[in-house]
């Protein structure tokens, strides 16, 4: 697809600015928190962990910053792929049953194995997410419904409902499971450690590869499935690659921090208003925006709670909602 040099360089500039934004947010996230350390104290602790009093810098700021960058980036891109695949501006990575599958697997882990260790949870969440999306995909494919995104979304919603019901059943029948589940299901960057992030990173990189491989198909699908088919697009392959990207990216994010909403929904919309609908630019833009947005909301939550903090999920719901309404009001959604 030919791109005019002028728009390309403008878009490249936007990406550079977004990248700088991520850098700025990273520094801000390291510097600010509910424990009001001075810049000097943070820098000393950062460069000399033995001077890191109470492990605040290395025990809290660093992990939540790394996780914010990682999870925000993954969810932003997963959201963009999701919205491109379904051509539904309200699609969120949860639609394919990924979050519900991960939740059920985590709950089964606690219920059956009695474990809630971070690495076990990670693997269970990944497995659950993968199984759920394969089932959703299988159900939609059985009905030969791959040409339109609607059967996929319906299958996803139905399978999600089933998985949520099973989760509720297990959770309500055992209080230990309920406690473990409640802790996990609140998507949060606080109180999480970097344990297991290396494994999640592997899955995320695989997801990124699939997402990159899906870019041309996403651009074709944006023209409508008929036209995409006419352009020689293999729908089955396009859907499969997209689904793999969404599952891997979402699952690796969700496994570590628990489900975090709104990033996957909002980041692609902001991205589209900045770089347009071409997924070649939209995917990286959504990822960078997702990372900045998640860190920004987390920092806000740290600062408005006094000795406590307001969970990033609450801040996201409030701020994300406002941003979303603004976007809808400006009518950019039509760009899908």
């Amino acid at each position: 697809m030919p791109r005019s040099v002028a728009t390309s360089s403008r878009r490249a500039l936007v990406l550079v600015v977004l990248g700088l934004g991520v850098l700025v947010m990273t520094v801000v996230s390291l510097m600010l928190g509910s424990n009001l350390l001075g810049v000097g104290t943070v820098l000393t602790g950062l460069f000399d962990p033995s001077q890191d009093v109470g492990s605040v810098v290395w025990g809290s700021r660093v992990p939540r910053t790394v996780l914010g960058l990682f999870v925000g980036f993954c969810l932003g891109i997963a959201g963009a792929v999701m919205q491109g695949q379904t051509r539904n501006p309200l699609a969120d990575p949860g639609i394919f049953g990924v979050s519900a599958g991960a939740s059920l697997a985590v709950v089964i882990g606690v219920y059956v194995l009695g474990t809630s260790s971070i690495t076990t949870t990670l693997w269970l969440a990944l497995a659950g997410a993968a199984v759920a999306s394969v089932v959703v995909f299988g159900v939609a494919a059985l009905g030969r419904g791959l040409s339109s995104p609607v059967p996929l979304a319906i299958a996803g919603t139905a399978v999600s409902a089933l998985l949520i019901a099973l989760t509720s059943y297990l959770v309500l029948s055992d209080e230990t499971t309920l406690a473990a589940y409640r802790i996990w299901v609140v998507g949060s960057l606080s109180g999480r450690t970097l344990d297991g992030v290396d494994a999640a990173l592997l899955f995320a990189v695989a997801g990124l590869v699939f997402a990159a491989a899906n870019i041309r198909s996403l651009n074709n699908l944006a023209l409508g499935t008929e036209l995409a088919h006419g352009l020689g697009e293999n729908l089955l392959r396009a859907r499969l690659v997209g689904l793999a990207a969404i599952t891997l990216l979402t699952a690796s994010a969700v496994a570590i921090t628990g489900p975090i909403g709104f990033i996957g929904l909002t980041a692609p919309h902001i991205g589209r208003s900045l770089v347009g609908g071409d997924h070649y630019w939209l995917l990286p833009a959504s990822g960078l925006i997702g990372a900045s947005l998640l860190l920004a909301c987390d920092v806000i939550g740290r600062l408005i709670g006094g000795n406590a903090e307001v969970s990033v999920g609450v801040v996201l719901t409030v701020l994300g909602g406002i941003v979303f309404i603004a976007i809808v009001r400006r009518g950019r959604i039509a760009a899908l």
Binding site: G33, S34, N35, G54, S55, V56, W58, G59, S60, R61, P63, S103, S116, I118, I164, T167, S168, L172, S173, D174, E175, L178, A179, R182, I183, V185, V186, G187, S188, S190, G191, R192, T193, D195, G258, P259, G261, R302, G305, N307, A308, E309, V310, S311, G313, V314, T317
Partner: protein, 337 residues
């Protein structure tokens, strides 16, 4: 379910605000508990509950349905409820381990989910629930739903089945126990039975006082999750209030301010590390999770292995006697740090 969690968090943040509003809007604390209730010579029965509601029946209630927390107290006095509804699965609730539930219908295993048809089938004469104050001053929101009930609509449904009374769970722990006893007494439990339970309770209380005095330990009661550490304010929780009145030294860094507990983010956890013993609420992070928190792992009590899974017990003589024994044992096996 995510939303539920978010609502819970939001509620937590808003709670002080709502409490303030409640304080401004409602200064009349119900003057309940003056009448002992019970049946008169004609057999008619009357009881005024802690929310100020007077229930009058033409006979003493024989078939009582109850929320699990209060069912335990009733059962300790030999009143077997015809129906029980709980916050979690009642059949596996350890608090009922010593009691026989085979003749009791379990009509709810999740907070606010009550099988109204099954409840109605047991034909209760009276339904027992609770009410928690919304602030430190003991303001009761008598317009809202009682504890154990989902909302006012569900409460209206319950009231169609049988009159609903509430035990106030707030303020002094001994007041809550007294309220439980007052209800039991009105339901026909003899003074001797209550006095016998009190003897055991008093013995356990004296032993707890002795253990607290010998050990001189500071006890921190907390709940923890991803957001941080929630330290219970001993004056605001009836159980800790009771134990403190018996001599247990609870961490109380900020008695004013927010009601019920102070929240310390993980970054600020160091501010609350004064305790020698940690009582960790079973519904949140456990000992292993706390050890995995880099900003909390250094807590001296955690390092010394003086961290215990802990849950509030029902506020009746029997449950509290057992619970105080547990705490006394913990105090005796722990050392000053």
């Amino acid at each position: 379910m995510k939303n539920l969690a978010v609502v819970r968090r939001t509620a937590l943040v808003l709670a002080p605000l709502i409490a303030l509003m409640g304080l401004a809007g409602c200064s009349s604390t119900a003057d309940a508990g003056t009448s002992d209730g019970g049946a008169d010579s004609a057999g008619a029965w009357s009881y005024t509950d802690d929310a100020g509601t007077t229930v009058t029946l033409d006979h003493e209630p024989e078939r009582v349905a109850s929320y699990s927390d209060y069912a335990i107290g009733l059962m300790s006095y030999g009143i077997d409820p015809v129906a029980v509804f709980g916050r979690a699965d009642v059949a596996t609730d350890a608090r009922f381990a010593d009691y026989d539930l085979s003749d009791t219908a379990i009509v709810g295993n999740s907070y606010g989910e009550i099988d109204l048809e099954a409840l109605a089938e047991t034909a209760p004469d009276l339904i027992v629930t609770g009410i928690y104050p919304t602030d430190r001053e003991g303001t009761l929101d008598t317009e809202g739903a009682y504890y154990g009930v989902a909302d006012v609509e569900q409460q209206a449904q319950l009231e169609k089945i049988a009159p609903v009374v509430a035990i106030e769970v707030g303020g002094a722990g001994s007041d809550v126990i007294d309220s439980m006893n007052r209800l039991a007494s009105s339901l026909g439990v003899s003074d001797d039975t209550i006095a016998a339970a009190k003897t055991d309770f008093d013995a356990a209380a004296a032993d707890l006082t002795a253990a607290a005095g010998e050990s001189g330990l500071e006890v921190t009661q907390l709940y923890a999750d991803a957001d941080g550490v929630y330290v219970v304010k001993p004056a605001d929780e009836p159980e800790t209030e009771l134990y403190r009145s018996l001599g247990v030294d609870f961490t109380d860094l900020n008695p004013d301010g927010y009601y019920y507990w102070d929240i310390y983010s993980w970054e600020n956890a160091a501010q609350m590390m004064t305790g020698d013993v940690l009582l960790i609420n079973v519904q949140g992070y456990g000992e292993a999770d706390l050890l995995a928190q880099p900003t909390f792992a250094s807590h001296p009590a955690l390092q010394a292995g003086q961290a215990y899974a802990w849950d509030g017990a029902a506020l009746d003589y029997a449950s509290q006697a057992a619970h105080m024994k547990e705490l006394a044992d913990i105090l005796r096996e722990s050392k000053k740090l």
